[in-house]
Every structure is written in C-alpha cells, then in structure tokens.
C-alpha cells in the first residue's frame, strides 16, 4: 500500500514538474537547440540570449509588459480588498433596510458566467475612454462578488465581544472597523489580496481585446503577441513564459498556505 502510494505520487510529480523544468531549461538554449529533435534537457551552450532579445525588442517590450502587469495586478488587489472589506463589514455587522436584498443580489452574481459581461463591459469601458489603458484592466474586474462574500464569512466568525467592549470604551464604528476588525482579519485580507493579484495577473481574454498598443499589453496578453511575432522561436517564447511566471510562482512559494487555504475555504463554506 505504502509502495503503491509513493509510486503514484512519483508519477504525478513527474507529470507536473518535468514540463515546467523542460520549459525553463529551454529558455536558456540557443534558438537552434530549442527546436532540436530528439530534445536535449541541459542547455549546451548555456545562454541568456533569449532573455536579452525579448527584453529589448521594440515590438515586444516584455519588460514594459512586466511593469504593466505588476501595476495592474497590485492596484486591482488593493481595490478589491479595500472595497470588499468595507462592504463585507456592513453586511456582516450593520443593520439597515434592504440588507437582505443587497446581499442576495451580490451572492446571486457569484455564479453568473463572466461571458455575459464581456460585450457590454467593452462598450461601457469604451464610453469611459478606458480602452487601451490599464484602468480597464484594474477597475471592472474588481466588481466581482467573491471578495465580499469571502470577507463577510470571515467577519461573521470574529468574536463580537471585542467590538462591543470597544464601543463601551467610546470608539465609533469606523474606529472599531480599522483598529479591531481589520487587524484581526489580516490572514483573510492577505488571502484575498493574493487571490486577486493572481487572478488579475493571469487574466487573458479581457486584456487581449481591450488593450491594443504594443506598449500597453499585460504580460499574458503580450505572450500571444510574442507568439504571433516569433511563432517558431521557441527559445524566445519559453523565455517569455518564464518571465510571465516568475512573480506568481515566487508569490506562490512564499505564501502557498494562504493561496491554498483561500481556495479550499471558498469551496467548503461556499
């Protein structure tokens, strides 16, 4: 039983790791070696020319794309956490008329297929003059219901006594929210920020159609531009794929627990 388990694990691990390793190694090969058959694993000679080329090419400014993606994903995560935390707190702790309707409306859109929003949002973003700008990547996707739902669940689980004793000490609602609730919620806020960053970084369809200028692309959208510009230069394409993956993989390595727990909690409590 034990041997069987480790055999299964070993095969699965090979299936998951080896394509990634092969891609990283290919990005350090010469153009010729990258497409050699049978394929080689260890680059000979080892070269960084693919990276030098894609980072400096004028029609595919990968470094600029990297900055764009960083700015968009960071701003989006901040916007999601800020607006969701405020709304979630109202829905978890405050009483007001229409609360049930507002919450039902928000939750009911959790399962609305995103395709229904693509065409009208393109038109709306166009009327706001946001087409071909990073704002189009940052703002509309922050309207998703997941963050509000996720944080509301978390806030409802916090002990009410702490907030009540702060009120007795004369604190107002805003002070209770910023001085007590938010500090207690750091793990949940971090999880939401991470998931939002990852989702925005990896978003594909929307940036492909909303951004047109070469210098305004995000990395994911840029990869398809890179692919059309160099369809057989696999050394360049793999280098592009590596550049597009390093930040998210680093984040994942550093905060793996938060990411995985965020995803698993979304299922059980959802």
């Amino acid at each position: 039983m034990k041997a069987l388990r480790y055999a299964v694990l070993a095969i699965l691990t090979a299936l998951f790791i080896s394509p990634l390793v092969f891609v990283v190694l290919t990005s350090f090969k010469t153009a010729r070696e990258a497409v050699q058959t049978p394929p080689t694993w260890v680059p000979d000679p080892f070269t960084t020319q693919a990276y030098e080329r894609i980072l400096t090419a004028a029609d595919t400014p990968v470094f600029r794309w990297f900055l764009n993606s960083m700015i968009a994903a960071t701003a989006n995560a901040a916007l999601v956490v800020l607006t969701s935390a405020l709304a979630a707190y109202a829905l978890a702790r405050l009483e007001f008329r229409g609360k049930k309707i507002v919450f039902a409306l928000i939750v009911s859109t959790l399962f609305v297929p995103p395709v229904i929003l693509v065409v009208p949002n393109y038109e709306i973003v166009g009327r706001l003059f946001w087409l071909d700008t990073l704002i189009a990547i940052i703002v509309p996707t922050a309207a998703g219901a997941f963050g509000v739902f996720f944080l509301r669940q978390f806030f409802m689980g916090l002990p009410l006594e702490l907030e009540e004793s702060a009120f007795l000490d004369g604190a107002n609602r805003w002070q209770v929210f910023t001085k007590i609730v938010l500090p207690l919620s750091k793990p949940a806020l971090a999880t939401l920020a991470l998931l939002s960053f990852l989702t925005n970084w990896n978003d594909f369809l929307w940036p492909v159609y909303v951004l047109f200028s070469p210098e305004n692309q995000t990395l994911q959208a840029g990869l398809s531009t890179l692919q059309s510009a160099n369809s057989v230069r696999y050394d360049l394409l793999m280098a592009g794929a590596v550049v597009a993956s390093v930040p998210v993989l680093l984040l994942y390595l550093l905060a793996q627990r938060f990411v995985i727990e965020g995803v698993s909690r979304s299922g059980v409590k959802g």
């Binding site: 034990k2 388990r5 694990l9 691990t13 299936l15 998951f16 790791i17 394509p19 990634l20 092969f22 891609v23 058959t37 394929p39 916007l79 800020l82 607006t83 405020l86 109202a90 702790r93 405050l94 009483e95 007001f96 859109t109 297929p113 395709v115 229904i116 693509v118 065409v119 009208p120 393109y122 709306i124 703002v139 509309p140 309207a143 219901a145 009540e164 009120f167 990852l198 990896n202 978003d203 594909f204 159609y209 994911q220 990869l223 398809s224 692919q227 696999y234 793999m238 592009g240 794929a241 597009a244 993956s245 993989l249 994942y252 990411v259 995985i260 995803v263 698993s264 299922g267 059980v268």
Partner: protein, 301 residues
C-alpha cells in the same frame, strides 16, 4: 442594545458605497445593458445602432442564416470540451485528494506541486504546451516515438488529437485547484464516522461509498458547478494552442463571441450569442443541482 444595531443605516450605506458603485457599473448594469445591445444592430464603431428586435437571436437560431453554422460549430466545440473535461475534473482530483488525505511524509510538498500549474496563467500554459505538443519538434511526439508509438501526431491541428491535447492540458492545469477543494471537504468529515464503521466491520470500500461520498456531496456539487462554468467559458487554451484549428473545429463559443463582438464589432449578435450560451449554462447548472438533490433524497430514504 447590541453593537450590531447601534449604527444608523447611513453608516452602512457609506461602507457599502464604494463596492456598490463598482458592482452596479460593471456587473448589474452590464447584465441588463447586454440584453439591450442584443436587441440592436450594434456596431461599436458606428454612431447609428438601429433597433432590430429579436433579429440577432433568430439569425443565430435559423439554419439558413450565415451566422448559424459558425455559432453552432462553436457551441458544439464548447459542448465537446465540457463533456469530457467535467467528468475528468470531478473524478481525478477526488482520487488525488483521497491520496493526499492520508498521513505521510512530504504530503504538503506534493500538494503544493500539484497545485502549482494553476498559479500559471492560461497564456503561459498554452504557450508552453504548444511547444511541447508541436508536431515536428515537440518533446511529446519525440518521447512517444522513443517508446515505439506514433511520433507524428498533429496534436494542435487535427481532431480528435487536438481535443485530447486541449482537454489533457486543462486537466493538468486545474487538477490541483479541484483537489484542494476536495481535500478541505475530506478533512471536515468527522473521524468518529469512520471509527464507528470500523467497529461495525465495514470495509474501506464500504466506508468510502457510505461515508465519504455522501459527506462530500455539497463539495462535489460545488466542484461540478465551478468546473462546468469554467469549461463552458474556455477560451485561452484554444486561442493560444490551436487557434481554432483544424478549420474552426476547436473554436469555442467564447472565442466566437469575442471575435464577433470585440474584433468584428458585431456586438448585437455577440451579445445575443452570450445570452444563448448563458441560458444553456444556467439550464445545465439547474440539471447538476437537481441531480445532486435527487441523489441526496434517494440516499436519505
């Protein structure tokens, strides 16, 4: 009086305002606006957007119209993809989660490895697998040849091979995501249930069938629903890996909608197509929901 009731409703609306502004502008309004667009001959680049009633819908549903074949080919592509992806992504991640739910050394490392591809974007996954699956220089064909199998399969430009590639890559990409959700569900099942079954002399298989599966039902339903929605919205894999080839056979419904609406700017027709796809999807979700309710009711009786 409890703290929950102390604040007036003005405070509540102030807390809600920033999110609601986003929600109304980019979720609620678009849902209605999309319906409105679908009733017009709506070209983003032209000033006139004449009202055409249900013409966009009838064009998509009338087999004599020029839009009929491309749209339904794309719907069929999405259907094929969903039909194969969903069962695989329900069963395989459950098996992986069952293995991961046992106590053994290095468990968290394995879990992290299987989840890792999900962190990569669809563009990265697509570009890397297009390379690995290339007919002439790809590593996959080369290794298949090395073990005596055909080494010239056109993974990206012939069917059914392209479907195998698209479905396989998608399973590789999102298996870890579903596994992690199952794993959390498995860890919520009370240990006592298994201990009681053991005392009664139940086999491991019986315990799985009568305890694990029924306890997991809400989680399985959630996984099924999100996988159905994700599969029906497949775009990036076919955009990057096959670009719809061969002919337009792997061009999915979303691919068709994006091209029609955001590239050719026939937004009325694209909006109508997205409503038809959404209705189909809602119907499917209701069926999924019903099946799980029925199974629950059958087991309870």
């Amino acid at each position: 009086m409890s703290a929950t009731r102390r604040a007036g409703s003005l405070t509540a609306w102030l807390f809600l305002a920033p999110y609601l502004a986003l929600f109304v502008t980019f979720v609620l309004v678009p849902i209605v606006f999309g319906l409105w667009i679908s009733l017009h001959n709506w070209d983003f680049t032209l000033p006139g957007k004449p009202f055409v009633g249900l013409d966009n819908y009838t064009a998509l549903l009338d087999s004599d119209s020029v839009s009929f074949d491309p749209f339904w080919n794309a719907m069929q592509a999405t259907g094929i993809f969903t039909l194969f992806t969903v069962p695989l992504l329900i069963v395989v991640p459950l098996a992986v989660a069952l293995v991961m739910n046992q106590k053994f050394r290095g468990r968290d490392i394995f879990r992290a490895i299987y989840f890792a591809p999900y962190v990569l974007g669809v563009a990265v996954v697509g570009v890397m697998w297009r390379f690995l699956l290339d007919r002439n220089i790809g590593a996959i064909n080369s290794y298949l040849g090395a073990i005596g199998l055909p080494d010239d399969i056109a993974w990206l430009s012939s069917v059914p091979a392209a479907w195998v590639a698209l479905i396989g890559v998608t399973v590789w990409w999102t298996l870890g995501f579903n596994s992690v959700i199952y794993l959390a569900g498995l860890q919520d099942i009370p240990r006592e249930l298994y201990e009681a079954a053991k005392v009664d002399g139940a086999s491991r298989w019986a315990a799985f069938w009568h305890i694990t599966l029924p306890s997991l039902r809400p989680v399985t339903m959630f996984v099924t629903l999100i996988t159905v929605i994700a599969s029906a919205n497949m775009f990036g894999q076919s955009f990057i890996m096959t670009n719809g080839a061969p002919a337009q056979e792997t061009r999915t419904a979303i691919f068709y909608i994006a091209e029609t609406g955001l590239q050719n700017f026939q937004m009325g027709e694209a909006a109508a197509a997205s409503w038809i796809l959404t209705l189909a999807l809602m119907l499917l979700s209701v069926v999924v929901f019903g099946v799980f309710r029925l199974r629950g009711a059958l087991e309870a009786s």
